[in-house]
């Protein structure tokens, strides 16, 4: 019967010939081994090596003297204290703001949710200076609002200004976290509480809030890491409020004291890493909110004025501030000196688009475009290996992949400068030439792409992991059982299924690459100019108009990319069949 349908010579499955045997693979799946080795190698080069090198330098005699003086030397103690203080304040405030925005978004009834959502995400797609420069223009000594409207001379330089700007810049992280968590809260819990006689406020305090505590704790810790790692804002409006990141920067850039830079980096690395670890492995385990499966129904939106009005007022206030900031960025680019001389001019845009800025714009976009697919795919690949394929080593690979996010950018940047400015020699052999610095191959562009990848892959990885955890592993096994190797399974089954996570990963990778500054300032080169570091130069020299123009163009580039990516993903050939 078989023969009538399948001529023996072309028998695809090999069942009609008695000599056919299961093909003896050389042991287990080779493509899996290859993937693991390639990923592990990539990670150790883009994250591992710089970290190891910076630790080596920090523990050298010169570096160690600074590290050990961290608590004894009053100046260093002050810097350390400033850093911690800033981190604590911003993480609490940012989480609070993020919570208000998320709660309003998920639970309150009002019009314009979509707009509020977009506004809440705006700071993620913009370069770090946009808010800081706008804040100085609006709320500085001679600020258009602080002085112009209220006649006040506010001292925005220092802790106050940093708190304001960092909170506004980082609350979206908390917003995203808490929004997801609020959405996955099973509304039947609310219904149960209501059924037992609790009113809305009581439900909020006795059910909603306790369920969210792990999420809130997680956001606080994440924001702490982000805010102590921030370099751009302390440089622009730190005043005499020095933090570890800006101190490390000054040591390396101003004094060429690499050992000092490494030492401050180490001190910065310790709290960042430990807080990150706590967030990752402790808080996430305490998470009581079930993230698998859809909630049973949609929660009843809150209309009770006692909760709704104060929450909405706060949300609208925050949203207005964000809008104000970005309006300033946009308008500021078109006037001579915003607030001083408000004559219309195109000079700033001409400077960016036709002058030296166009070079930086092109290079940055190109490098980000190269880094984005690598980071996106690598993130998904790591997620897949971690969730599906690796057993004992999965925790390690997950951790190393996340390091790009956990390690402050300043530390990565200094690590790159130390590790890659010279050819990498190991065991008496040169493994690859210098990849960072102006004299490196490709004008240092490769190191920048590597930094972009290292910095932006963790988000894709996280998204990929949570997406994969919701997909039945039997689907992978089904592909295997039908003859697919690990790589084929990943390509034909896994990747299409976690497409939304990949999309998120790509989007974030591009945005992050375009807007990252702290590691980049240490490795830009004459041949490879990066927009953020150009903006830093403009801001530092006080040419805010140029900075505004840069920021606006950068935001436009990022938004266009996101738009195009979403359009492309909608295309049927890519989309495949939509899942439920």
């Amino acid at each position: 019967m078989t023969a009538t349908l399948l001529p023996a010579a072309a028998d695809p499955v090999g069942t009609s010939s008695p000599s056919s045997r299961p093909r003896r693979g050389s042991g287990r799946d080779i493509s899996l081994l290859v993937m693991v080795v390639v990923v592990a190698l990539l990670l150790s080069v883009i994250v591992g090596l710089p970290l190891v090198r910076i630790l080596t330098v920090a523990f050298s005699a010169e570096g160690w003297s600074i590290v050990s003086s961290m608590l004894s030397n009053p100046v260093n103690r002050g810097i350390l204290w400033n850093t911690v203080q800033l981190g604590v304040i911003v993480s609490l405030l940012g989480t609070a703001v993020g919570f208000v925005m998320a709660y309003a978004q998920v639970r309150l009834k009002f019009r314009g949710k979509r707009i509020l959502h977009l506004i809440s995400l705006m700071p993620i797609v913009s370069p770090p200076f946009a808010v800081a420069t706008a804040a100085i223009t609006l709320f500085g000594r001679n600020g258009m609002i602080s002085n112009g409207v209220f006649g006040q001379q506010i001292d925005i330089y220092g802790l106050k200004g940093l708190t304001f700007v960092l909170t506004l810049s980082f609350f979206p992280v908390a917003y995203m976290n808490l929004k997801g968590m609020l959405e996955s809260l099973d509304p039947s819990l609310d219904e149960a509480a209501a059924n037992l006689g609790a009113n809305k406020l009581k439900i909020f305090t006795s059910v909603t809030l306790p369920m969210l505590i792990p999420g809130i704790a997680g956001s606080v810790l994440l924001l702490f890491v982000e805010s102590i790692a921030d370099l751009a804002n302390p440089l622009v409006l730190g005043g005499d409020y020095t933090v570890l990141a800006s101190r490390a920067y000054l040591a390396v850039v101003g004094e060429y004291n690499v050992a000092g830079g490494a030492a401050y980096s180490l001190v910065l690395l310790l709290p960042a890493l430990s807080v990150f670890l706590i967030q990752r492995y402790w808080v996430s385990r305490k998470n009581v909110v079930s993230v698998t499966g859809k909630p049973a129904g949609s929660p009843e939106l809150i209309t009770a004025p006692a909760l709704r009005i104060p929450m909405l007022v706060m949300a609208v206030a925050v949203a207005s501030l964000v809008i104000l900031m970005y309006a300033t960025v946009v308008f500021g680019g078109f006037v001579k000196i915003f607030g001083v001389n408000n004559d219309f001019t195109l000079d700033h845009y001409r400077f960016v688009l036709a002058g030296i800025g166009s070079d930086a714009m092109f290079t940055t976009t190109l490098l980000a475009l190269i880094a984005t697919p690598i980071a996106g795919l690598l993130g998904m690949l790591i997620a897949w290996l971690v969730v599906r394929k690796l057993k004992r080593t999965s925790g390690l690979m997950d951790f190393v992949g996340m390091l790009g996010l956990a390690v402050p950018g300043t530390v990565i940047g200094i690590g790159y400068a130390i590790a890659f400015n010279t050819p990498t020699v190991f065991a008496g052999r040169q493994w690859f030439p210098a990849v960072a610095g102006g004299s490196a191959i490709l004008g240092g562009a490769m190191a920048i792409v590597m930094v972009f990848v290292a910095r932006s892959l963790p988000t894709g990885q996280r998204a990929g992991i949570s997406a994969l955890q919701q997909i039945n592993p039997a689907i992978d096994e089904a592909a295997t059982s039908l003859g697919a190797s690990s790589l084929t399974t990943f390509r034909t089954v896994t990747l299409p299924l976690i497409r939304p996570a990949l999309l998120a990963g790509l989007t974030y990778a591009f945005a992050r690459s375009m807007t990252t500054l702290s590691p980049i300032v240490f490795i830009t080169t004459p041949q490879t100019k990066i927009m953020t570091s150009q903006i830093l130069a403009e801001v530092d020299s006080g040419r805010f108009g140029n900075a505004f123009a840069y920021c606006a163009i950068l935001i436009v580039i990022v938004l266009s990319f996101i738009g195009l990516l979403n359009l492309a993903m909608l295309h049927p050939s890519i989309r495949g069949i939509q899942r439920r």
Binding site: G254, E255, A537
Partner: protein
């Protein structure tokens, strides 16, 4: 497993593209240039490229690079950074320099760089035309412009702070009314700021303790130490502070850009000045072109560019044009500025400033 192989290729594709694209973006650096021992006095025409660490303001760097590219045919690229930062970058890449020329910034920075073994002495034939006081006889550095340190004050902001007239002495800068109303750059990163520190050394008879006593008092009035030397002028212009301590030519530039409330004054005790210098980076990738570039900067062709882009430093070449907006050197009291001594003490003094002055608390 042919399918596996294609997939593996697919995954490595982005990496390949990286290499390809980046390869296109950067032009091949010629490893050897013309073997002529010196191009001094000869034609500045050449091929290939030259990479400049450029410390004046961005516009000036751009105009300068464009003019040299046009005049010589040598592709000129630059990175704008403050002079301290520039020296740090040279130090960082000492084993394989990425720059050919250190352009601008006070000569003491060049001296410090030379002492760190980062500078190759070069006596340009064109240096003959430059007055002796504006050049090092061994060619460690050669001056191409002169700038005088001054106070750049915002008249409106002064009024608000209750100060009637722009400060005209170092002592007046300590006026308690000016608390957090003064901006100056950090001497680690900025040559401008180090010039101010050294000026205090000179005024205090090289007494470090007295100097730091003054700087400590000034610290109480300083809002923020910026990275780049000219930034305080902008801060004053926007009214963030009342007074910025900067080179007066930068203040003039800001006035021209629209900050008409700015006023430039000079300290009566005596002001420091910079001799904006150029020097050849030791072991730079394009040594011959670096020399051609230096030759060119010592000509009026180059020195006349400044005023066209709003940079009003005084040119060092006697035949270069002097404009109305430039400081009249004979009208300002200048201190005796020994850039050799200043350069030698630079590392020590900035480290001390960084440890003792900058982090001190303010009442």
């Amino acid at each position: 497993m042919p399918r596996t192989r294609t997939s593996a290729l697919l995954l490595t594709l982005p990496l390949g593209v990286t290499a390809l694209l980046a390869g296109c973006a950067v032009e091949e650096t010629p490893t050897t240039t013309s073997s002529s021992s010196s191009s001094a006095g000869g034609s500045i025409k050449g091929t290939g490229e030259v990479v400049v660490a450029c410390t004046p303001q961005e516009e000036q760097c751009q105009a300068m690079a464009a003019a040299f590219t046009k005049a010589s045919g040598i592709k000129t690229s630059f990175v704008r950074m403050s002079s301290g930062e520039g020296v740090a970058r040279l130090d960082a890449a000492k084993s394989k320099p990425e720059f050919d020329v250190l352009y601008g910034g006070p000569s003491d920075g060049h001296v410090a760089a030379f002492n760190s073994g980062l500078i190759e002495p070069y006596v340009s034939a064109n240096a003959a035309a430059i007055p002796d006081k504006y050049k090092d006889k061994d060619g460690k550095w050669t001056g191409t412009y002169v700038g005088v340190l001054g106070f750049c004050s915002n008249k409106d902001q002064l009024t608000k702070a209750g100060v009637s007239a722009a400060p005209s002495s170092w002592a007046e800068l300590l006026d308690p009314k000016l608390k957090k109303q003064v901006a100056i750059a950090h001497p680690s990163t900025s040559g401008t700021s180090y010039t101010a520190v050294w000026t205090q050394m000179v005024l205090n008879g090289m007494d470090e303790a007295k100097t730091f006593d003054y700087l400590g008092k000034l610290h109480q009035n300083v809002l923020q130490y910026s990275k780049s030397g000219s930034a305080p002028g902008q801060m004053a212009g926007r009214g963030e502070v009342a007074v910025g301590v900067i080179f007066s030519h930068d203040c003039v530039k800001y006035q021209k850009e629209g900050f008409d409330m700015l006023e430039s004054t000079f300290p009566s005790e005596g002001s420091g000045y910079e001799i904006g210098a150029v020097s050849v980076v030791k072991g730079g990738p394009n040594a011959e072109n670096a020399k051609k570039f230096i030759d060119w900067t010592l000509t009026p062709d180059h020195q006349d560019i400044g005023p066209t882009v709003g940079s009003f430093q005084i040119p060092t070449h006697p035949e270069a044009k002097i404009t109305e907006d430039m400081v009249k050197l004979d009208e300002v009291k200048l201190v005796e500025y020994d850039s050799l001594a200043a350069g030698e003490k630079k590392k020590e003094l900035t480290a001390k400033f960084d440890a003792e002055v900058a982090p001190a608390p303010k009442e």
